[in-house]
């Protein structure tokens, strides 16, 4: 293994100025992507600028929405009850990312800056409408995460820029979200396909308890959806994000706009799944064939959406009938 210089700045400013002055330098946070790339000889930077000693990069702030520092580990996020309750899609991702050992060191910032099409936290953050706060030599700026990704391994960050945090809006009781990671193994696996959804629904108060009851059954998705339709459950707002179906994590914007404002129903979900599948451009790879990925978008978009609605209706439910999703 090649040797390299290792710098340990104490502040964001110091880190940025080091990146400016050092030739051929790279940020390293948890190192779980960087070290692999070095071993595979895909990068050969002479200097590493570690972000681990910077105070104020690892935090979760739940006042007024959600702010997560880029240096926060997946495990820290995973253990946060507030996130689990109001930003469930993110917990769905962090709970199954790599293994416990990886989650203990790997950071959410690293996951996003590495910009793999399969990055597990990318879909939830997109669906949760996260903004990225970027700090550079000329101060800081905020961009929507949707604009952050350019392609596999490519982001809008320049070499001297550092991703400081993610900012998400406050979501109320009528909003639920979910992420489904479709894998061949239950751990240590990247998704064949990932789908995250966030939905805000409205329904007449008096119907809530009946909806709750139906979610407690193990009825088929289409039957549950028909009942939700009868109860007048309406989609007020929705975001759908997909991973591994394009060079970068993407939103299914057409599907979102068709869905917005409609009463949920089996046909609508069918249609949404198909539209989303049409928006994707999956490829054949050794990890999965394009036709299968397309088929799975149809299935998983439906499942993620209903899981999101379930979370609105049964927010405190610890157990969701596994056979559905």
């Amino acid at each position: 293994m090649k040797s390299y210089e290792y710098h340990k700045p104490k502040t964001i400013e110091e880190a940025i100025s080091l990146m400016g002055s050092l030739e051929d330098a790279k940020f390293i946070a948890g190192g779980t992507d960087v070290m692999v790339l070095i071993k595979q000889k895909k990068i050969s930077s002479k200097c590493m600028v570690s972000l681990r000693n910077i105070d104020g990069l690892a935090y979760i702030d739940t006042q007024n929405g959600l702010r997560i520092g880029s240096g926060t580990t997946h495990n820290t996020i995973d253990e946060n009850g507030h996130i689990k309750r109001y930003y469930s899609a993110l917990t769905d991702a962090t709970s199954r990312l790599g293994s416990k050992q990886i989650r203990n060191v790997a950071t959410i910032g690293g996951n996003i800056c590495n910009a793999a099409p399969s990055a597990d936290t990318a879909c939830p953050l997109l669906a949760l409408d996260a903004k990225a706060v970027i700090v550079g030599q000329n101060g800081s700026k905020t961009t929507s995460l949707d604009e952050f990704f350019l392609g596999p391994g490519k982001t809008i960050l320049s070499k001297e820029e550092l991703l400081k945090e993610f900012v998400m809006p406050l979501y109320g009781e009528n909003t639920g979200s979910a992420y489904i990671k479709h894998t061949r193994r239950n751990a240590m696996d990247l998704p064949i396909l990932g789908v995250a959804t966030r939905i805000t629904v409205s329904l007449p108060d008096e119907n809530i308890s009946r909806c709750k009851d139906m979610f407690c059954t193990i009825d088929s998705i289409s039957n549950i959806l028909e009942r939700l339709k009868d109860e007048g459950v309406k989609c007020e707002d929705v975001m759908i994000a997909m991973g591994v179906v394009a060079p970068r994590p993407m939103r299914a914007k057409n599907a979102e706009s068709v869905m917005k404002g409609k009463i949920v129903s089996s046909e609508l979900f069918e249609e949404i799944g198909n539209i989303a599948a049409g928006e994707a451009q999956p490829r054949d790879s050794i990890r999965g064939e394009a036709w299968y990925r397309t088929e799975m978008i149809k299935v998983l978009v439906k499942r993620a959406l209903i899981k999101s609605i379930d979370r609105v209706i049964r927010p405190d439910e610890a157990f969701y009938p596994e056979r559905l999703w």
């Binding site: 293994m1 293994s99 479709h182 061949r184 193994r185 239950n186 751990a187 240590m188 696996d189 990247l190 050794i286 990890r287 999965g288 064939e289 299968y292 088929e295 799975m296 299935v299």
Partner: protein, 760 residues
């Protein structure tokens, strides 16, 4: 086993503490003074002509001590059963793992840099990556000198008269099944250190699972290098898994020897994980055409199989797996008429090797899947169908296997009971149950001239004992089993037994860790030696205690008279008295056990093993019809193992085998595209993780095997033999699609479901 205090007990592996604390010395940990590090340059193309090979730049890199190519190897020196594999290749490369050159340097980093300085010019040639294509008339010859891509190893077994049986059958099914390449995934990668002394005797530190046969191979190599009549000593490190991968000698070992000769220094070569994936030999993939029939009552009438195996570019023991496939083909269930023909075919793919089960899983996948089809056609419940055709004790099978103990029916019964077969069959809702059985050698296997193992036992002055065995412990726990056997016979605690198994200078001969034979053969050898030394102890103690030896017994390291309570002495004290006296002696004993099994005759018939292991696996699955994913809800693995010597280790073999089988069935596959491995890493090679372990129940069905040590039979391989067909059968039961090509991926299931939907 009530009379025994150590045999039959759940005793944790005696080497567990050193492994758990990291103190165990694997080949990676071993350092020899003055040692250099070797690295190998592999071919860039699976099939190419080498136009130019220039090592001059590499040679001048500081820290490089030697660069070698085919020109440095003795001309015409070839390895492997067919002697078709030169350790360093010249002229034409035939696979992506072809070794072109190698470097010895002061560090692996320098060696790697040197590799990048070797200049090779290739002319890429079109390759053959499909055995069917390779068999065609006029196909490019992989080995020009042998004139055909079909290996000159014709496998053919004929018993009875299949043609007549076909005419007499009430129901016949025919289909084709195929299996994929999978690899062993040992935690410890391959490696060795080659060291020559001043007289050119070789010491090889190694993690081989065949020390005695390897010794033979390397003596041959030294001869080829011009060092006639030299000694070869194999010192084994702790071995981090074998599963058959270390059952042959490989190019890298000969390259290490060559580099040691060139540099006159010890040279270490350790495979990186990437090399372990692409440069070691996987389980062979097979295409199996099978036809089976039964009469009106559902009794099997015949089994006919034609098989094609992708041999890859060179030949290792893997090419002889059809001999073991004959075992289930001829003798899994009672089938009077058998015909089996197999062809191994050269291609430009990686070459294959032994892997746990040695062909049995591939054959059993075809047989047991087809058997379900036949049961359906005959309108008989698949479990009932199997009971009707089950093997029985005392049977002599068409291939002339003499079945001694046989708990097959009991195993099937256990599966039926624990899976609640009858109720589950009526079920539905995308759930289904499946069953498959197995037969395997359980009392050694005479595939070599000898199936023997030697043991030497030596008592010290304190009542402790050193056992020198030929048997290698590759993680399966044979050291523990051997220690248990010796401790039981000598009446001493297991901690007082030290098993030495890693040095050909000290340990007697053994054919190797294969064929699930170690507990049976090495166990019998240890038992024989322990009994001999016990006699010596009691004989001498009889004199000391003035008692008839036949009235003496040893318990808790005390020799005592069963007749007269007064007469007793601690074992250590007795041994010291026997030693420290005029004309005294140290007690030692040796025993060589070679089971009374037979080599196959020219027709591939004969009693290969002195006993046979049986088992049945039952599984309940749930299939997600929208995604094609399979979830294993319940897994029963019932095994007839004779008498368990250590139920804990036994269950470990069953769990481990079962899980390896589940990987084989549902996910593992080495993806080769035009001769190149596309997924040589643990991310893309889908070996199951601990989170993928379904609920597995290991059920031990006891039979008494008269020839086994304390009644035991082998269990090393059986655990993964019937897994894939049991799962395939359960999936069929659940959703009505039969996947005939392993692994059973969600994609294949979904595609089959869509096709089925399209049909109806």
């Amino acid at each position: 086993m009530d009379n025994f205090t150590i045999v039959g007990q759940k005793i944790p592996k005696i080497d567990a503490p050193v492994k758990a604390t990291g103190d165990a010395l694997y080949i990676q940990d071993i350092k020899v003074s003055g040692m250099l590090h070797g690295k190998i340059l592999y071919s860039k193309y699976p099939h190419a002509r080498i136009l130019k090979l220039d090592t001059s730049k590499a040679e001048t890199l500081p820290g490089v001590r030697a660069v070698v190519t085919a020109a440095d190897m003795p001309p015409n020196f070839r390895i492997g059963v067919m002697k078709d594999n030169p350790p360093l290749k010249s002229g034409k490369t035939k696979s992506i793992r072809d070794e072109i050159a190698a470097v010895a340097a002061i560090s692996t980093e320098v060696a790697e840099e040197a590799l990048s300085l070797i200049e090779v010019e290739y002319e890429e040639l079109p390759g053959i990556f499909d055995p069917i294509e390779a068999m065609q008339e006029g196909a490019t010859l992989i080995h020009e000198e042998v004139k055909s891509n079909i290996l000159k190893m014709p496998w053919k077994l004929v018993c009875g008269d299949v043609e007549t049986a076909k005419k007499d059958s009430a129901h016949i099914v025919e289909d084709t099944f195929s299996t994929q390449w999978v690899t062993h995934c040992c935690m410890g990668t391959s490696g060795c250190i080659a060291q020559l002394d001043a007289s050119n005797n070789l010491t090889l530190y190694s993690n081989t699972q065949i020390p005695s046969l390897a010794q033979n191979d390397f003596i041959e190599a030294l001869n080829a290098f011009g060092y006639k009549n030299r000694r070869v000593r194999i010192i084994q490190s702790v071995i981090g898994g074998g599963f058959g991968s270390k059952l042959d000698t490989y190019a890298y070992e000969y390259i290490a020897i060559l580099l040691a000769i060139k540099t006159r220094k010890p040279v270490k070569i350790i495979f990186s994980r990437e090399e372990e994936f692409f440069a070691t030999s996987p389980r062979q993939c097979t295409i199996t055409k099978i036809s089976q029939g039964c009469d009106k009552e559902g009794r099997l009438t015949f089994r006919e199989i034609e098989m094609i195996l992708d041999n890859g570019a060179y030949t290792s023991w893997g090419a002889t797996t059809p001999s073991v496939m004959m075992l289930p083909i001829s003798s899994l269930y009672k089938v009077p008429n058998i015909k089996y023909v197999a062809k191994c075919v050269y291609t430009n793919n990686t070459y294959c090797q032994a892997m746990r089960g040695y062909g049995n899983p591939q054959a059993t996948f075809a047989i047991e899947s087809s058997l379900d089809q036949l049961a359906e056609k005959a309108g008989i419940d698949p479990l009932e169908f199997r009971i009707r055709n089950s093997n029985e004790p005392g049977e002599i099978t068409p291939q002339r296997f003499k079945i001694t103990s046989c708990g097959m029916k009991e195993c099937i019964d256990e599966v039926a009971k624990r899976l609640a077969w009858k109720t589950k069959k009526e079920h539905k809702g995308n759930r289904g149950v499946g069953i498959a059985s197995l037969i395997h050698v359980g009392g050694g296997a005479r595939v070599y001239k000898s199936d023997g193992c030697g043991t030497i036992i030596k008592m010290d002055d304190f009542g402790k004992v050193d056992v020198f065995t030929g048997a290698s412990d590759i993680g399966q726990g044979s050291d523990t089993v051997i220690a248990q056997i010796v401790a039981e016979v000598l009446g001493i605690p297991i901690e007082d037994v030290n098993v030495v198994n890693n040095d050909t200078d000290i340990c007697p001969w053994d054919v190797g860790v294969h064929a699930s034979r170690t507990t049976f053969v090495a166990g019998n050898a240890a038992l024989g030696a322990a009994k001999k030394i016990r006699e010596q102890i009691l004989e001498a103690a009889g004199k000391l205690l003035e008692e008839e030896p036949s009235f003496l017994d040893i318990k808790n390291s005390i020799i005592y008279s069963t007749k007269d309570k007064e007469k007793s002495t601690p074992l250590g004290k007795a041994l010291r008295k026997i030693h420290y006296t005029l004309g005294g002696k140290m007690l030692m004993a040796e025993y060589f056990y070679d089971p009374a099994n037979e080599n196959f005759d020219r027709e591939f018939k004969g009693n290969l093993s002195v006993s046979y292991a049986y088992g049945a696996h039952g599984v309940e699955v749930e299939v997600d019809k929208e995604t094609g994913q399979v979830k294993i809800l319940n897994y029963i693995a019932a095994h007839d193992v004779g008498k368990p010597i250590n139920p804990l280790l036994l269950e470990g073999q069953i769990y481990g085998g079962g899980l390896q089988g589940i990987g084989y069935a549902l996910g593992e596959k080495m993806i080769y595209k035009n001769g190149r491995l596309m997924n040589g890493n643990f991310l893309d090679y889908k070996m199951p993780t601990v989170k993928d372990v379904p609920p597995v129940q290991a059920v031990i069905v006891e039979t008494d095997e008269k020839d086994g040590p304390f009644g035991a039979k082998g269990i090393g391989e059986p655990g993964l033999v019937p897994t894939a067909p049991a799962i395939a059968n359960a999936i069929y039961d659940a959703v009505g699609v039969r996947i005939k090509d392993l692994p059973i991926t969600p994609e294949k299931i979904l595609k089959a479901l869509k096709e089925k939907q399209g049909r109806t």
